[in-house]
């Protein structure tokens, strides 16, 4: 008797219960970890400047509650609360802001602190896009997690189309040997696996160090002279010429120097894996066109 009654009560509850919680939102991140949220994220922490930009691009800008140093784009991000540097997070400040999703930089954030946050049960989504398609995918993923699919998918598509257009435009362009200088001392560049390297390729450039095994190789001036690029490009504040390429000017035998192909592009759009790569690509392509004219 009692058993039947219990069963009836249970059935009753099942019928009366609200139409269950929506299925959890699950996305696999760049560490191949599946991150599941019961509902779209409302309080997002972004632990790198790139992640901040991507969150805004995904349409989730108004849900970001914590950022790290140098999160300077878009402008609205400047007003958000800081929780330290991407290499050293103020964990207490982060926790106090009660995030329900933390976007981390796969290789840039300190592993020990990330482990600690994971142990505290915070949902952590690690990103590190390495290709243009990767950038689009991340925007889509973030918008899924934030419930802003409409904006996010649209932005991802806009980016895809933009890149495809440039690729089409420069498909048969004359290849230009390029040296991209990431840093002066020590002298650092990138290989073809790096997003910057892919931008160079997109514009029909040939990265003279594209085949190097390391993502960000440290090289000597000698090998640059030996490679004799036709264009040398570096990033600077807002693309304004500064002294970072002065050291090459004395090597008048270098093709790039002889033809005055020392170019500056705005540093932040090209260095971050965000939709601004589109503008950055256009900048680089324009410079390479100039180099082509001077051949």
């Amino acid at each position: 008797m009692i058993k039947l009654k219990g069963l009836a009560v249970m059935l009753g509850w099942m019928l009366l219960a609200p139409p269950g919680l929506a299925a959890p939102i699950c996305v696999v991140d760049d560490l191949e970890v599946e991150v599941c949220l019961d509902q779209p994220a409302k309080r997002i922490a972004t632990l790198s400047p790139g992640a901040t930009e991507l969150a805004f691009a995904a349409g989730a800008g108004d849900k970001v509650v914590a950022v790290v140093n140098y999160s300077d784009y878009p402008e609205a991000a400047l007003k958000l609360p800081l929780v330290g540097n991407h290499t050293r997070i103020d964990l207490e400040a982060l926790l106090a802001l009660k995030p329900d999703l933390v976007i981390t930089w796969r290789t840039g954030n300190p592993p020990a602190q990330m482990e600690m946050l994971r142990a505290l049960g915070l949902p952590m989504f690690a990103i590190e896009p390495r290709t243009f398609e990767g950038v689009s995918k991340v925007i889509e993923q973030l918008s899924t997690l934030a419930g802003t699919e409409q904006e996010g998918f649209a932005e991802a598509e806009r980016f895809r189309k933009g890149i495809a257009e440039i690729a089409e435009q420069y498909r048969d362009a004359e290849p230009v040997p390029v040296f991209y200088q990431v840093w002066q001392t020590p002298l650092m560049t990138i290989n073809d696996d790096h997003l910057i390297g892919k931008v160079v390729q997109l514009c029909g450039g040939v990265n003279v160090f594209g085949d190097m095994p390391r993502l960000v190789p440290r090289i000597s001036a000698e090998v640059v002279l030996e490679a004799d690029p036709h264009a040398i490009i570096t990033g600077s504040v807002e693309g304004i010429e500064d002294n970072q390429l002065d050291r090459w000017k004395s090597y008048t035998g270098m093709t790039a120097v002889a033809k005055n192909n020392l170019f500056f592009v705005p540093a932040s759009p090209i260095s971050r894996p965000t939709p601004r790569l589109l503008e950055a690509s256009r900048d680089i392509c324009e410079r390479l066109d100039v180099a082509r004219e001077r051949e």
Partner: protein, 319 residues
């Protein structure tokens, strides 16, 4: 005698409570009390029990370990300027840790490698110093200094070849960072056990400080005692460096300051070093995580900034 230890104990406790209350989110003592009793808000509970308490205890243990190791080194080498790193222990630990970081290993393995590196350094210096015959304090010191320089070269090499994104992590380890400590318990246990082992030897150390010949003439088994001190100091340093990277100044300045104030009786200096070193590091770490929050400073910077003027003041006063 015991009065100074009680005073130090009280100061330590006050420092611990201060450290638990202050942070990016300040927790009033009444809130602290609530959390201890099992209530309090979820945020406070997480902050206090999962973040601040382990970190503060780790800072205390590390500071205590370094200060006691420093005091022991100063007795062993009969040199008031010796510190726990002078024989290359932190260099060995650093090479171990950086190798693990280079290979992309997790935090547990990094600690393991750091400890192994320190033990290797201990055996290496001992073996080299023992080399040809007599084992004197100055021979040990010279060997240690040279080996430490060697480790330094290896560290520089590793920093030069490591991919850029791994650099910040390595540098922070080298500067010393209590936030790395995943659990304070190994360090605390080692500290307490060490003090228990050392206290009966403390008077022997007083005699040893008069010189090895004098000590032997007064009934001290000099060689076994020197070995014991060497091994103990190495273990303490290795544990400290494994827990929080190579934090400087504490091991040199704390025993020295205490000697200026309390005299040279190791029976007081050793336990006092544990308490004072722990307190110093707890206070330094509190400052390191709050003074320019949310920016986080390396605690080694703060120990220097706090320790040096205090030491100079005490030196001036003791004239």
């Amino acid at each position: 005698m015991t009065r100074s230890l009680l005073v130090l104990g009280a100061i330590s406790l006050a420092a611990l409570i201060l450290a638990l209350a202050i942070g990016s989110v300040n927790i009033a003592p009444s809130e602290l009390w609530k959390v201890i009793q099992g209530e309090g808000s979820a945020l406070h509970r997480t902050l206090l029990l999962d973040l601040r308490l382990p970190r503060t205890l780790a800072a205390f243990a590390t500071g205590g370990l370094l200060a006691v190791a420093g005091a022991l080194m100063q007795v062993l080498l009969r040199n008031p300027l010796a510190d726990p790193y002078v024989l290359g222990l932190s260099g060995g630990a650093a090479v171990g840790a950086l190798l693990a970081m280079l290979a992309g290993m997790g935090a547990l393995l990094i600690s393991g490698f750091a400890f192994a590196g320190a033990m290797l350094a201990m055996v290496l210096v001992f073996g080299l110093a023992h080399g040809t015959g007599s084992w004197t304090a100055s021979r040990l010191l010279l060997t240690g200094v040279v080996v430490a320089a060697g480790w330094g070269a290896v560290i520089t090499l590793m920093l030069a070849i490591t991919p850029s994104y791994k650099l910040p992590g390595m540098l922070y380890w080298l500067m010393g960072d209590v936030s790395y400590a995943r659990t304070p318990w190994p360090a605390l246990v080692v500290l307490v056990l060490a003090i228990l082992v050392i206290l009966p030897l403390a008077r022997n150390m007083n005699v040893l400080a008069r010189g090895p010949m004098q000590a032997a003439a007064l009934g001290v088994s000099v060689r076994p005692l020197e070995w014991t001190i060497y091994v103990l100091a190495s273990l303490l340093t290795a544990t400290a460096v494994t827990t929080a990277g190579s934090i400087g100044f504490v091991g040199l300045i704390v025993p020295h300051m205490l000697r200026l104030v309390l005299g040279n009786d190791q029976r007081i200096i050793l336990p006092a070093s544990a308490l004072a070193g722990g307190t110093l590091l707890v206070l330094a770490d509190t400052l390191a995580r709050t003074v320019i929050a949310p920016e986080q400073l390396p605690v080694g910077v703060i120990t220097a900034l706090l320790g040096v003027p205090t030491f100079l003041y005490l030196l001036h006063r003791s004239r």
